[in-house]
């Protein structure tokens, strides 16, 4: 059971309010627990029934709830999709922190230690592999996520994933690279996700090759941008230097 800490009420509040506060928190907590129980029980039904109400109903039955309890999930199928995404993300984190994912990959490829770039690539591929069981129904999920009202939450989750991937890979950029790197990882992952739904190979060879190519593209683009930046900077500092040598007060 997770540690449950109700939000601290201010010290000045009368005790009755505190009781209300605790009861309300308890209620919310219980509500969340039931939601997550149903969602967890629905996960095994996804490969056969897809991200549908059917999976949710079967999951609720498995968990010992009535069919109608599916109504506890106001967004229905989309809640299941979000839960799938978030739980896979948690699993990815657990794989790295407890399952020693990087050590395993390093041992497989025969390198002593992986760099940040290789780690990012390994994490993207690992995350894609988690989706391979639901490949057949994933296009439906993508369609759901692209609905106008669902886009913000879907993008939020994509950002959380790319952020997690980069922080797990040990990226420590603290300038504009923070944004560009997250954008790049999110773009590679999202496009590979679409490619994977049409990948007939059982071990995702095509998707792996696609991800490899996208990372190469990204490196090429980054090198170009850096080159342009350096060139402009050099020109600027040369101009200022020439001006100063002429005695201009700049």
């Amino acid at each position: 059971m997770a540690v449950f800490i109700p939000d601290k009420p201010p010290l000045t509040e009368p005790p009755t309010n505190y009781l209300n506060h605790v009861l309300l928190s308890e209620f919310r907590f219980l509500h969340r627990e039931i939601q997550s129980t149903i969602l967890t029980a629905s996960l095994p039904h996804i490969p056969s029934h897809g991200f549908t109400l059917k999976s949710l109903t079967l999951g609720a039955r498995d968990a010992g709830f009535l069919d109608v309890s599916v109504q506890l999930l106001p967004r229905a199928e989309f809640d299941l999709i979000l839960f799938w995404l978030a739980s896979r993300r948690g699993l990815l984190r657990a794989n790295v922190e407890e399952g020693a994912l990087f050590q395993r990959i390093a041992a497989e490829t025969g390198v002593s230690d992986l760099g940040v770039e290789e780690r990012v690539k390994a994490l993207v591929l690992e995350r894609l592999r988690m989706n391979s069981d639901v490949r057949g129904v994933w296009q439906d999920a993508l369609a759901q996520m692209s609905l106008l009202s669902h886009i913000p939450l879907a993008l939020n989750e994509l950002h959380a994933l790319s952020s997690d991937i980069l922080s797990l890979a040990g990226d420590t950029s603290v300038d504009s690279a923070w944004y560009t790197r997250r954008l790049a990882v999110a773009a590679v992952y999202a496009s590979a996700d679409v490619v994977m739904t049409r990948d007939p190979t059982p071990d995702l060879t095509e998707t792996t090759a696609f991800v490899q190519r996208r990372f190469e593209d990204r490196d090429a683009l980054a090198a170009k941008m850096q080159g342009v930046g350096e060139c402009v900077g050099l020109l600027g500092s040369t101009a200022v230097g020439v001006g100063r040598s002429w005695g201009l007060k700049i």
Binding site: M1, A2, I5, D7, K8, L11, R32, E33, Q35, S36, L39, T40, L82, F83, A86, S87, R89, G90, L91, A94, N156, E157, A160, S163, S167, T172, V174, D175, S176, W178, Y179, R244, K249, I250
Partner: protein, 244 residues
Amino acid sequence: MESLPVLRRCAWQSRRRATSPLFLDFLAPSTLHRYQCRHASTDPGSPGSSKPRYVLSKKQREFLDSALRVNQAGELAATLIYKAQTPQVVRSHPHLRPLMKHMYDQEAGHFKTFNQLIAKHEIRPTAMYPVWEVAATFLGWSTAALGREAAMACTEAVETEIGSHYNDQVREILSWEADAQRRGEELDEELKEMLSTFRRIRDEELEHLDHAVANDAKEAKPYDPLVDVIRLGCRTAIKISEKV
């Protein structure tokens, strides 16, 4: 045979413990995850002290996030201002070389400190980063072009704003400390360290302010409009960096 139910319960509990972050990660994605990684380094109730640890509320954590973001942006701007000012000021007044170098080195140290803090706590840096880079370089360059007094007036204005900004942060953390004491709890070691870092940096910034005034910052012409505009700019930049 009678140990079987106990075993099963243990297995159930351990499985629940292993998977529960996954459930809640979905239901409270931002707060819970951040809470966990924020305090990954210090475990609750460190063995040395008997007092329980003061847990920050969501609002306090948000304050800390935006404070660190602003501080990093501010130190970035400060290093760039000094870097842009140094060649021109030193050219006409070679005796200021050690002072400019001293101030620049201190700012670079502060910048490094905040970069580390931002990376450690996985805080988003400000989205205006490139804008501040250009703006700070331009501010440093243009005030230095106006002369030594204007450059020092710029330092004075910037450090006044930054000093009071750090002061506000120190005051806020001290109020948390007072709150923790009233509850019989103790602040996180990391927060205490941060408090002393903020105090040290604030004192160094105010020392720069004294240097600037000692070097005829008040002689700058036109003094009032120049300082007012720079201070207004600083305040606006702080407000923007808090949000984005």
